[in-house]
Amino acid sequence: MINALFDRIADVAAGWVVVITAIQLVMVLSAIVEMRRLRQRDRHQVWRRVLRSPLAPRITVLVPAYNEELSVGETVTGLLALSYPNLEVVVINDGSPDDTAAVLIDRFDLRPVHPIYQKVIETAAVRGIYRSSREPRLVLVDKFNGGKADSLNAGINVATGEMVCAIDADTLVAPDALQQLVAPFLMREDTVAVGGTVRLTNDSPVRAARITELVVPKKPLPALQAVEYVRAFIIGRLGWNPLGGNLIISGAFGLFSRKAVLAVGGYEHSSIGEDMELIVRLRRKGYETGNKAWVDFLPEPVAWTEAPESARVLARQRNRWERGLMDVLHRHRRMILNPRYGSAGMLAMPFFFVVEFLSPIVEALSLALLLVGLIVGLVDPGSLWVLGAAYGFGTAVTVLTLWFDDVVFHSYPRFSYRVKLAAYAVVEQVIYRQLTIAWRLWGIRLFLQGRTEWGQQVRKGFNTS
């Protein structure tokens, strides 16, 4: 009987992987349908002319910076060179102990101005506001440390744009990124947020704050993340457009209606997953007030960010993401399977609960029991073939998304890149996946302990050589 039970465990593990893979496959198909629609729209280059107009809506780009002295200069230079006619860049130095503020003050000849502004959202005290005599579109807000959400809120207070674009200080942005992201706001008045695809910069040559060629990172960990990012953005974001809209806009680059963000009180200081939390809150409020809040996602790669290169930093990032997810699911648990919240309550929230939260628990539990069963001889080794097959299907879906990405964007346009990515897709499924499960379980444990710290981020800086 115990033998039979352990044999079932192997089937449960395999079945679970197959179910998750099947859900992902549905998302890929949904993404393909959406992609076709978006490509037809983009083919006509509808917005390029409108958005060269000085009458285009004003956008304030918010750059929260904490210990970003290595990359903040390049990032701001790139942002100021964006081809958008009505732009303001607000960098918020969140009490960095390094030279983040000094680098900016020196590079852009910033001078202190009287720090008076309308404090609509409560934030940590602002030490000073600086403006550049050379570049009037640039503002530096120097404040005491309060976390990323607090910095973004301080930036929203100071911003003068109708829209605010939240961006990480280590993110590089495509020249026409804002023109692309603002387009859905022009089409649908109920649009409250728009996100775009983010890719990895690791090892890609950067000149004048632009990626000159996107390369597959040389080290295995970032390369695995490159594969993971392609799959995540196609399955986890684009696929949601036809299914009623997204619940996540990447913290690395997203555009929001400032009015809508102010109406919900800005980013939640106490949330560790502030990006997702804001989106869920915007959508929730939309449903509760009857003013629909549409969150759109554009598949074009519009931003590039640096992926962690060491397992320790990556582990911290992933456990933070898991804690963020749990925090959002817990705060907005009333939305789950609640028809009042439309597709967000009936589809998106249950998806995140099952695929993103339950998945690592079920998979880890099954694998652990399977391992024990194998060691004590209670599991037939033949049942491992089923588990192997399940991971095979998972890899097939990943390769399918890589192919889809190649057809549409030609992101990695070299034979050697494709071979590497296909090989990494296998490793991603059979080694990296299990590692991320371990990191996510660690995140769940820390969340249950009430730990909300971010952990130290280590940046290498861009490859500008």
Binding site: V113, I116, L186, G392, D406, P413, R418
Partner: protein, 358 residues
């Protein structure tokens, strides 16, 4: 059975991986060939559009016989900002190659994506019976926006009423396109805009924004009543638009707006006073160097600089102001003026009397 399932799954993965890599290689090659072909078409097309009449005539037939899809793709990738002879030649080509018929047919298609394409290319249609207003009334906002954009300034002038009406369109994209087109039309649109401001109370904000960007003094006569509007956005745009007027007419209204409660309006009103350049405004602007808002202090400093010697005199007086922010702003502006070759401000005196600093 279990092993077969395993083999099947990984076989599928392997097949997909090989497909991905091989397809990618073929796609790379195809993209290179297509790029080369497009480049050739573009080169031939540029001879047709920009070279002498004889050279253009020589390649005309070659271009006309090109596959329509490639030709269309290249034409669509061109900026529609072609003017003069090149524009006329492109229109003739469109007529000879059947593109014109293609556009007209698509303009009545049931699929909005095809109508968007027609809207983008309708600038090529020379048929006098073709109604350019049709797509301006389209039910899809993308089509309306694109139709407005593709109108030449002359065609825009002919459709002024419709474009003005579209300033109140529910889609922001259409409103911005309409505003931009009226900006392109320029002076010819002014009488209609004045009439609109006088008689119509819908989408006034859009018209005021236009008035601010059009920089035409004729518009300022109609702005007085909007300067007292309860809507801050309206007062702000009025203050900006007034910067284009004659000092004698607009200065009293701007002086009223300089005292507005909203800092943005104060800044813009002060900037407008600087723009109209009446030295008499200098004494009014001076105290705003001590305004509580940085943007107002900056606007005051810049406006005083614009007002010439009178303004700079006031800036020099503020170098000894008890307000450190006014002192700071005055020094920044005078330093910048000195870099342009104007007389340098006196050296900074240490407020504690320890000596002069550079």
């Amino acid at each position: 059975m279990r092993f077969q399932l395993f083999l099947g799954a990984w076989g599928l993965t392997g097949a997909l991986a090989v497909g991905y890599v091989v397809w990618g290689a073929v796609a790379d090659l195809a993209a290179k060939v297509l790029d080369r072909r497009k480049k050739r078409v573009l080169e031939t097309l540029s001879v047709l559009l920009f070279e002498s009449e004889a050279e253009a005539e020589a390649v005309h037939d070659r271009v006309r016989k090109l596959p329509r899809r490639t030709l269309l793709a290249v034409i669509q990738s061109l900026a529609v900002d072609l003017t003069g002879e090149a524009y006329e030649r492109l229109r003739r080509l469109a007529q000879a190659s059947g593109i014109q018929r293609f556009v007209v047919r698509r303009s009545t298609s049931r699929r909005w994506r095809l109508r968007v394409q027609a809207a983008q290319l309708q600038y090529l249609v020379v048929d006098p019976n073709y109604d350019r207003g049709l797509l301006l009334k389209d039910r899809h906002p993308l089509v309306r926006a694109r139709a407005i954009e593709s109108l030449s300034p002359a065609e825009g002038e002919a459709h002024l009423k419709q474009i003005l009406h579209l300033l109140g369109d529910p889609a922001l994209a259409v409103r911005i396109s309409a505003q931009q087109k009226l900006l392109d039309v320029g002076a010819a649109a002014i009488p209609d805009l004045i009439r609109h401001l006088r008689t119509n109370h819908t989408h006034v904000l859009e018209v005021l924004e236009l008035a601010a960007n059009l920089a035409d003094p004729r518009l300022t006569d109609t702005l007085d009543e909007h300067a007292s509007s309860a809507d801050p956005a309206m007062r702000l745009l009025t203050a900006r638009a007034l910067g284009n007027g004659a000092a004698s007419l607009v200065a009293p209204i701007l002086e009223r707006l300089v005292g507005d409660v909203e800092e943005d309006i104060r800044s813009v009103a002060i900037a407008s006073l600087g723009k109209i350049g009446d030295p008499a405004s200098a004494t009014l602007i001076g105290p705003y160097l001590s305004d509580r808002a940085w943007s107002v202090r900056r606007a005051s400093g810049l406006a005083l600089d614009q007002l010439g010697s009178t303004g700079r005199l006031i800036l020099r007086q503020h170098l000894e102001s008890p307000d450190p922010f006014a002192r700071d702003m005055a020094r920044q502006i005078l330093d910048a003026a000195a870099q342009r070759g104007l007389p340098a401000p006196p050296p900074l005196v240490d407020p504690l009397g320890a000596g002069a600093a550079s």
